[in-house]
């Protein structure tokens, strides 16, 4: 409770824009600061095509991070995101390639596989009362294993044109995954910041007992959240599959950590009660800009790992520093 209270006290100093949408100013500083550095170091950074590259590269992690934002701001956790991404990409590819179904069915199968895995998570967390950490860690293994079993351990390569278009098409010169990413972000922003579903998500994460007392059906809501998060993993799996023209059982390995990190950098409270899609988008873009810049500069792999780690710590340090300053006032 004191944790929540102090977080609430802090949030005054970093709110920006609409009342219902908290965006940490620090995260914007980091994003623009990082972009400025990259722009100075590499003349290619600010090219339109490169900015589109960053959005394209951030699409998969960004959509996963949206799922993470919803679950974490309800004081839940979903560690299975990356594995479910892999599973749904394999299910989609099997539907299209091995079963020869029309590609819209493959899209549906891909999304359904993600949602189904999330649904199972939700049932186990709320009905069996197993901690989310354990349930989703278990699902991390199960989904990955299932993906390997279904695909026989090898990538399913060669998808129908319609499906590949979703990953590689460029209407108006903009890659399709960017459209999907932005569309999903707008829709999920609306839901989290402007609907009862979103308000109840934050309330449950803030104070579950209070939410229950005001008549919010907490168990049902949590089940929906995990299903939603699984669906996001399904969409991310669809993007991944369409981009690389293959259902890859190893796709998304460790992506959940990057996704959760993006959500946290974007201001989602790790203990629940606060989160915004706008913030998460900034978090995902910070990671995307960093990776893109390091690639443009052809930084060697060991230094890349160090740079990424350092920026993460810096982003969270700025938050803590700001919080201390706010408390001192």
């Amino acid at each position: 409770m004191s944790e929540n209270a102090s977080a609430a006290r802090r949030s005054r100093s970093w709110t920006l824009g609409a009342r219902s949408t908290y965006v940490r100013i620090e995260s914007l500083f980091v994003l623009f600061g990082l972009s400025a550095i990259m722009a100075v170091l590499s003349p290619y950074f600010l090219q339109t095509s490169n900015l589109l590259n960053i959005l394209l590269a951030s699409a998969t992690i960004g959509v996963l991070a949206i799922g993470a934002t919803y679950v974490i701001s309800s004081a839940g956790l979903d560690l299975s995101l990356g594995s479910v991404l892999g599973l749904s990409s394999v299910v989609g590819a099997v539907t299209a390639e091995r079963l020869g179904m029309p590609w819209p069915l493959a899209v549906a199968a891909c999304l359904a596989a993600g949602a189904a895995a999330g649904w199972v998570n939700g049932q186990l967390v709320t009905r069996a009362g197993i901690p989310a950490f354990i349930v989703t860690l278990g699902m991390l293994g199960i989904a990955r294993g299932l993906a390997l079993v279904i695909s026989d351990g090898r990538a399913i390569y060669g998808l129908p044109e319609g499906l590949v278009y979703l990953g590689q098409g460029r209407p108006f010169g903009v890659p399709m995954p960017v459209f999907i990413f932005i569309g999903v972000a707008i829709l999920t922003h609306y839901i989290l910041s402007h609907t009862r579903f979103g308000a109840h998500t934050l309330a449950i994460g803030d104070n579950e007992a209070a939410a229950r007392a005001t008549g919010i059906r907490v168990g049902r809501h949590r089940r929906r959240l995990y299903t939603f998060s699984g669906l996001m993993a399904g969409i991310a799996g669809l993007i991944f599959m369409a981009r690389v023209n293959a259902g890859d059982p190893t796709a998304g390995l460790n992506y959940e950590l990057t996704a959760i990190t993006a959500a946290i950098i974007g201001g989602t409270n790790l203990f629940g009660g606060r989160g915004s899609i706008l913030g998460t988008m900034i978090g995902a873009l910070i990671m995307g800009v960093l990776q893109n810049g390091l690639n443009l500069l052809a930084v060697q792999s060991y230094y890349q790992q160090m740079a990424i780690g350092a920026v993460l710590i810096l982003a969270v340090f700025l938050d803590q520093w700001q919080a201390r300053r706010a408390q001192a006032r």
């Binding site: 977080a7 609430a8 402007h194 308000a199 209070a210 939410a211 007392a213 008549g215 059906r217 009660g273």
Partner: protein, 246 residues
């Protein structure tokens, strides 16, 4: 007129019998004091009324209709509100959202997109309620965790009163308050009674109970020990009922 009727309600947690066959009726517009030692079952009994706990045995009837199997949200919409001892506030959400928690009004955004929470309306109506209560809150859009204990109490009360309740249950509403604030809460209870709203007041402060309640009910070890109009009992009687010396 009988508003609430509890018949033979029992509840146990594991091997502990917390409520052992409670019968209690509450009249519309009455103020009932509920007292008892810690662990006597007061809060548990109240939570079986609001629906947070299901009963093992017995029935709860509200306004002539059985509500024993209804979920908390349904009971709330029928007019049962409770102000919890810990206030049950979402500390990172703002004052207005807390007051409307679980009951957010929605409209169509631009007349098109469904499900849009009408934040403007929430803010306006929440502000009206705060003003009506005469509470001093710095801003309706401040996160509740940022407010003082007394201010948070006002938010919890505002939430209970905004939707025209028929019964308001208050669990130790004065425990954490300064003298002046206590007086304010007691005034509020009198006001509610005048408006025809029934109140159940749980308190350790017998002075408060005797000041505002028509009737005093004593629980001990999950049983209803005494149920007397204020004029027919005394503080000494009540204390002996509580400790079991009578």
């Amino acid at each position: 007129m009988t508003l609430l009727e509890i018949e033979g309600v029992s509840k146990s947690f594991g091997s502990v019998d917390v409520l052992r066959g409670i019968d209690l009726t509450i009249e519309a517009g009455s103020v009932t004091g509920l007292v008892g030692d810690n662990g006597a079952g007061k809060s548990t009994l109240m939570k079986t009324i609001t629906g947070i706990y299901s009963v093992d045995d017995g029935t709860v009837t509200f306004n002539g209709e059985p509500i024993t199997d209804l979920p908390p949200g349904e009971r709330r919409s029928r007019g049962i509100e409770m102000i919890y001892q810990d206030l049950a506030l979402a500390k990172q959400q703002d004052v207005a959202n807390n007051i409307f928690l679980g009951r957010e009004p929605v409209k169509r955004l631009w007349g098109l997109i469904p499900g849009y929470v009408d934040k403007a309306r929430i803010d306006t109506e929440a502000q009206q309620m705060i003003d009506r209560l005469g509470a001093k809150i710095p801003s309706i859009n401040r996160p509740v965790g940022y407010l003082s204990g007394g201010q948070q109490q006002s938010v919890a009360i505002a939430r209970a009163l905004t939707f025209e309740p028929k019964l308001v249950i208050m669990d130790e509403p004065t425990a954490a308050l300064a003298v002046r604030e206590v007086e304010h809460v007691l005034d509020l209870i009198r006001q509610l009674q005048k408006d025809g709203i029934a109140v159940i007041l749980i308190s350790h402060r017998l002075n408060d109970i005797f000041e505002v309640c028509d009737r005093i009910v004593v629980l001990r070890q999950g049983r209803l020990i005494a149920d007397d109009p204020r004029g027919e009992t005394s503080m000494n009687d009540v204390v002996s009922h509580i400790v079991g010396a009578a």
